[in-house]
């Protein structure tokens, strides 16, 4: 797509001259909002300080400084979150408190996002574009009452922008990134182009349309690309890419109405992704007589198509507030497999099928303040999900024909009441009751409380529970032949998650706020009972089946600090998290707590004279340990402790505006410490150790983003 970027530059120059008469000031870096307004788990938009829940906020300016394009770009700098990429499939998931992405719920404007396992969980966060985001709100802990099943370790709620100050706002931008040291305009690097048009039809109507193209050309790393084969050693596995090439297109529209007592919006998103997977293994197909080769490889193309519709109505009616969201979402994931001839590119034996198809309807409504008094406020609500999913390819047997259909319909009612015992003390108990066509009725409970001390300290205690539904594989996996017997279990119960969080914080500030300091200390405990694992169902003949059997426990402490001084702001955090696994699925296990530490630091400095801000983001992910059962030198199964090495992310960026703030230039470096892969070392009793690497990144990379704001 060489042609494309040239056109863009031409266009930028063109606009520069034609719109130069326009003058409008865009605030580059409005002084950090010390107390942002949040929506997650609130009865109505409320400041962080007043919220009874503890909510962390990533603001738009944070996102801009990191030049984040998809959600994984920004979340990896967040304390207590790990972004775990899968270089082989090109996906990224969130890991929180040692649990995988099936335990954390991802919401967009309060509506769970559809993923491979239903609404809100197991989301590939590298598929969520964040160009239109106001802020990202992160709540830790089980939030089953507020957000239903699978909100076990926490909730990430993405709040999108719904207004513009200008009659017309046109925003094109391009972003060019290197992947490690790899970059060119034909087949390397990452190339992003985006264009957005916003228009205020009237004081109350606003519309927006945007389009983003994200072209990740793949990171070669140790490999040699798609055309490569080694005639001497076909098994050297250096064909293909360390990170697969993928192309994403996102289209979004928004229509927003903002009246006096009534607000409504409709948001539509279309997403399309193509990932090309080039097999590392090549077959030479030696033609004996002529000693010539005609190499072939089994390549795959994965495609994802997704639609997201969301209508929200919010308003006041006779002293009460209501909010109703209705969302229809659809996702189709398609796999195309074929044999590719490496000399001619010819595709043979093409087999194409949808391996994960989902259609879901979600509706959530709340009504609050219907028992209004000075000391009590109440919220009642409902949530309906109709989630129809088909998954195939769960085993290698009869792929394509062995498709499982699952429909999970659930209806929940929830009720919570905030009791203001005194000016200082308030409580909010809550309950959710869920019935569904698949699982037994579930009850989730929560109790939050907030205590304001006289000296400005605030103490919050948040208790919650949430169920985690079994996934497709656990329910339906089937691989039975003469040599194997592994089966899913349709009688699995949801896992039970529980958590307690305590947060103590205070804001110190000098007069006129020149210097302010805001420390927060948190401590938590979270466990999941009835955790599903594969067990030996029958030792002879050997067969495996999924069962509700394990218990995972985690606890930890975190200390987060925010400092603002004039043009300087900083955030520094440290967290220690311990995990223990009671693996009844295994003959032997060790349930000692294994600890890991994380550090995070964000520093930002604005130079108003130059209209420039400079930022640094640092995150340290400490060593992680895990017990594994492995045979020792004598073939006896023993428990060994695996160590995953520590690694750090360091990003630097500078952002500057030009020409009456119409142009915005961001440039920076990601992954300055050049992390590519980390080692997992397992040490057995005899002192032998073995290493297996895990791919984390593609090394030190640079980006340049060029954005143009045309407002009139």
């Amino acid at each position: 797509m060489k042609c494309y970027q040239f056109l863009f530059i031409f266009f930028v120059l063109f606009c520069r001259f034609s719109f130069s008469q326009q003058k409008e000031t865009v605030n580059l870096d409005s002084i950090q909002d010390l107390n942002p307004v949040i929506l997650t788990a609130q009865y109505r938009p409320q400041s962080v300080d007043k919220s009874i829940f503890e909510v962390d906020v990533l603001t738009q300016s944070d996102i801009q400084k990191m030049a984040g394009n998809t959600l994984d770009d920004v979340l990896k700098q967040t304390l207590n979150l790990n972004v775990i990429p899968n270089s082989g499939e090109g996906r990224s998931g969130i890991q929180q408190f040692g649990f995988n992405s099936e335990y954390v719920k991802i919401l967009i404007d309060g509506v769970p996002f559809i993923g491979d396992e239903g609404f809100g969980n197991a989301i590939d966060i590298s598929q969520i574009n964040i160009d239109d985001i106001e802020q990202i709100e992160i709540v830790e802990g089980a939030m089953g009452v507020q957000y239903g099943a699978n909100a076990v370790t926490g909730v990430v709620n993405i709040i999108t922008k719904k207004s513009s100050r200008h009659k017309w706002n046109l925003t094109p931008y391009i972003q060019e990134e290197t992947l490690g040291s790899e970059y060119n305009w034909s087949d390397k690097g990452r190339h992003i182009q985006s264009f957005k048009v916003g228009y205020n039809f009237s004081d109350s109507w606003y519309g927006e349309i945007s389009f983003i193209r994200n072209d990740f050309r793949g990171f070669y790393g140790q490999k040699n690309g798609r055309y490569f084969y080694n005639p001497q050693d076909p098994n050297d596995k250096t064909r293909g890419y360390d990170w697969l090439p993928k192309m994403q297109h996102t289209g979004k529209t928004l229509l927003n109405y903002n009246g006096k007592k009534f607000r409504a919006f409709y948001k539509f998103e279309y997403f399309n992704e193509r990932t090309d997977s080039y097999a590392n293994q090549v077959r030479l197909n030696l033609h004996g007589p002529t000693q010539t080769v005609d190499p072939t490889a089994n390549d795959r193309v994965f495609r994802t198509d997704r639609q997201y519709h969301h209508v929200n109505l919010t308003g006041d009616w006779q002293e009460m507030n209501y909010s109703i969201s209705v969302s229809y979402q659809e996702q189709v994931r398609n796999r195309e497999g074929f044999t590719r001839k490496l000399l001619t590119g010819e595709k043979n034996n093409v087999e194409r099928y949808d391996y994960n198809t989902r259609k879901g309807l979600f509706s959530r409504g709340t009504l609050n303040e219907f028992l209004k008094s000075n000391w009590i406020s109440t919220e009642a609500g409902y949530e309906i999900t109709v989630d129809r999913g088909e998954a195939s390819g769960l085993s290698e047997q009869n792929t394509g024909t062995d498709t499982q259909l699952r429909e999970v319909n659930s209806f929940s009612g929830f009720l919570s009441t905030e009791l203001i015992a005194s000016k200082k003390l308030s409580f909010r108990p809550g309950i959710r009751y869920t019935t569904s066509n698949v699982f037994r009725d579930q009850i989730a409970l929560s109790l939050s409380s907030k205590l304001d001390f006289n000296n400005g300290y605030q103490l919050r205690a948040v208790l919650g529970t949430a169920p985690k539904l079994p996934n497709f594989e656990e329910l339906y996996f089937y691989m039975v032949d003469s040599n194997h017997d592994v089966r899913g279990n349709q009688n699995l119960k949801p896992e039970k998650g529980r958590s307690v969080f305590l947060h103590l914080k205070k804001r110190f500030a000098t007069k006129n706020n020149v210097l302010s300091y805001q420390p927060k200390f948190s401590v938590w405990y979270l466990d999941v009972e009835d955790k599903i694992d594969l067990i030996v169902a029958n030792p002879s003949p050997l067969s495996f089946q999924y069962a509700n059997i394990d218990t995972y426990k985690t606890w930890g402490v975190a200390f987060r600090n925010k400092i603002y001084y004039k043009q300087f702001s900083a955030g520094i955090g440290i967290a220690l998290n311990g995990e223990s696994k009671i693996l009844n699925s295994s003959n032997e296990f060790d349930d000692d707590f294994l600890y890991s530490m994380q550090l995070s630091g964000q520093f930002s400095y604005s130079i108003s004279k130059w209209k420039t801000s400079i930022s640094a983001y640092y995150k340290y992910n400490g060593k992680q340990y895990q017990f594994v059962l492995a045979p020792d030198d004598f073939g006896e199964a023993t428990i060994t402790k695996d160590k995953q090495d520590a690694y750090s992310w360091l990003d630097l960026s500078a952002r500057k505006t030009f020409w009456n703030d119409q142009f915005e230039l961001s440039l920076g470096a990601r992954n300055l410490l050049d992390v590519k892969e980390i080692k997992t070392t397992s040490t057995s009793g005899a002192g032998h150790s073995s290493n297996s690497p895990m791919m984390l990144g593609y090394g030190r990379s640079y980006f340049l983003k060029f954005l143009y704001n045309i407002n009139f």
């Binding site: 797509m1 266009f11 002529t290 590119g345």
Partner: protein
């Protein structure tokens, strides 16, 4: 407003995607020609032979191949020893390359009478290959030696027809004549040893098991007597390897103990008949060799002179069938199928070297003890026919350079497993040919060969399409 619309459409035109990113595969640049085999032999009766020339790809355009004949003591002409079609002129033959075809051939008519013990032959060599524009040349088997009498093949490439991911065939390969005999795996159930002793083997390619019962009259056995024993004759089960034929091929380690002279010492056996040939279509790289269950039988085998008396019946039956099976001197075994009676399976003892088959092996379970386990793409050597072999690592010698004087006689092994599965890896997701190993094989006629595998899968990645190449060393 008009100006604005022009500007807007200009913006939007930028987002019309232009397909600049085009795949750029190198293409097939060369057209390569070779003889199919480095040697050809006229067997006794043959009066003509088609000598095949094969191409590396379908001919992209027409052209011509020029061959040169060299002969010793053989003369060209219909009245003399041999002629060719197309005709040879001054020892040169021009063979057309037809656009779109992947091979050509030369017909060789033999008139000469060759006396026993006499070795006469001729040699064909590709002198040149010419296509109109395409780059064309000869490589690989650029010459072939044609022997007018039966001699050992010099080697070549072979693709034993195992038959794809269900691996329906057992393929017997004769390196000496570069030929194969294939037979469906389910043709036979039991093999009765033809040598001096009395041994009976099971068809391990169908995953058969057998265990002795404490009964000595076949009609006495009832379902209730064996129901508790059946579950132990299965894969992935500690100890189940005791009920299968030992993979080494050692006749004294078969599931059925040597047949004793005295009838009283030959118990009734419970036999699991294994599985039919699979019919599922597995994903590329996988196999589906085991189909429907073939049920259970009870059997008893007795000696009758130099013959076997074979008794068999359904487990719960109070009567049985009986058949007398005699030894066949030139074969390793006499084969018998309960549904088809006596069947022919293996070529004669001296006429095969390798057997490609599904089979059973012994594997350790995760907890430690051994179990029976199914193996596909297995290669057994004909140890009863005096074939021996050993493995060579390419870190010691390369296949290409390995020569006669590097053969180490002391390394030869008669274990049927010596090639076995050592040439491929088949643990998902790694399914690949092992390229750092080759084999030295010695047959009963004292021919020595080197052999390496060149494919485990076909070009689409489907299992059950093995390929190898070999060369006569001496």
């Amino acid at each position: 407003m008009k100006v604005f619309l022009i500007r807007l459409s200009l913006f939007l035109s930028i987002f019309v995607l232009i397909g600049c990113d085009k795949d750029d595969y190198p293409g097939k640049k060369d057209f390569v020609v070779a003889f199919e085999n480095p040697s050809e032999q006229f067997s006794g009766e043959e009066s003509f032979k088609n000598i095949r020339l094969v191409f590396s790809q379908a001919a992209p355009e027409s052209g011509v191949i020029t061959l040169k004949i060299t002969s010793e003591n053989l003369f060209y002409g219909a009245e003399a020893d041999f002629t060719t079609e197309p005709e040879a002129v001054n020892g040169i033959i021009q063979i057309p390359v037809v656009k779109g075809s992947a091979e050509s051939f030369l017909k060789l008519n033999k008139f000469a009478e060759i006396l026993p013990g006499e070795e006469k032959g001729l040699q064909l060599e590709i002198e040149s290959v010419a296509l109109q524009k395409f780059h064309a040349f000869a490589q690989g088997n650029t010459e072939t030696i044609i022997s007018f009498s039966e001699t050992a093949a010099l080697g070549g490439a072979m693709n034993p027809e195992v038959g794809g991911p269900n691996q329906p065939n057992q393929v017997y390969v004769n390196l000496n004549t570069k030929s194969e005999t294939k037979i469906r795996r389910d043709t036979w159930d039991f093999g009765f040893y033809s040598g001096d002793d009395f041994h009976v083997k099971l068809n391990s390619s169908l995953y058969m098991f057998a265990r002795p019962l404490s009964f000595y009259d076949i009609d006495d056995v009832r379902e209730a007597d064996v129901v508790a024993l059946k579950p132990w004759m299965n894969f992935l089960l500690a100890g189940s390897e005791k009920f299968m034929d030992h993979p080494s091929g050692d006749l004294n380690k078969l599931a059925i103990k040597p047949i004793a002279e005295s009838d009283d010492e030959n118990p009734v056996y419970l036999v699991k008949m294994g599985n039919e040939i699979g019919t599922d279509i597995p994903a590329p790289g996988s196999v589906a060799v085991a189909g429907k269950d073939r049920g259970w039988k009870k059997i008893r085998i007795l000696r009758r002179g130099n013959d076997y008396l074979f008794q068999y019946a359904d487990v719960n039956s109070n009567s049985h069938h009986e058949v007398l099976i005699s030894k066949e001197d030139t074969f390793n075994f006499t084969f018998f199928s309960i549904s088809n009676g006596k069947v022919s399976v293996e070529p004669a003892r001296q006429n095969w070297t390798l057997n490609f088959t599904v089979t059973m092996e012994i594997e350790p379970l995760p907890e430690g003890p051994d179990t029976a386990y199914g193996f596909s793409d297995y290669v057994k050597i004909n140890s009863l026919g005096n074939v021996k072999a050993y493995r060579v690592s390419t870190s010691d010698y390369t296949y290409t350079d390995f020569a006669e004087n590097q053969i180490e006689e002391s390394k030869f092994s008669a274990d049927e497993r010596i090639i076995g599965s050592s040439w491929r890896k088949a643990t998902p997701p790694e399914r690949e040919l092992i390229t750092d190993i080759f084999y030295v094989i010695k047959d009963a006629q004292n021919h020595y060969y080197k052999l390496r595998f060149t494919a485990l899968e076909n070009e689409n990645g489907l299992r059950g399409y093995p390929a190898f190449e070999y060369k006569l060393l001496k």
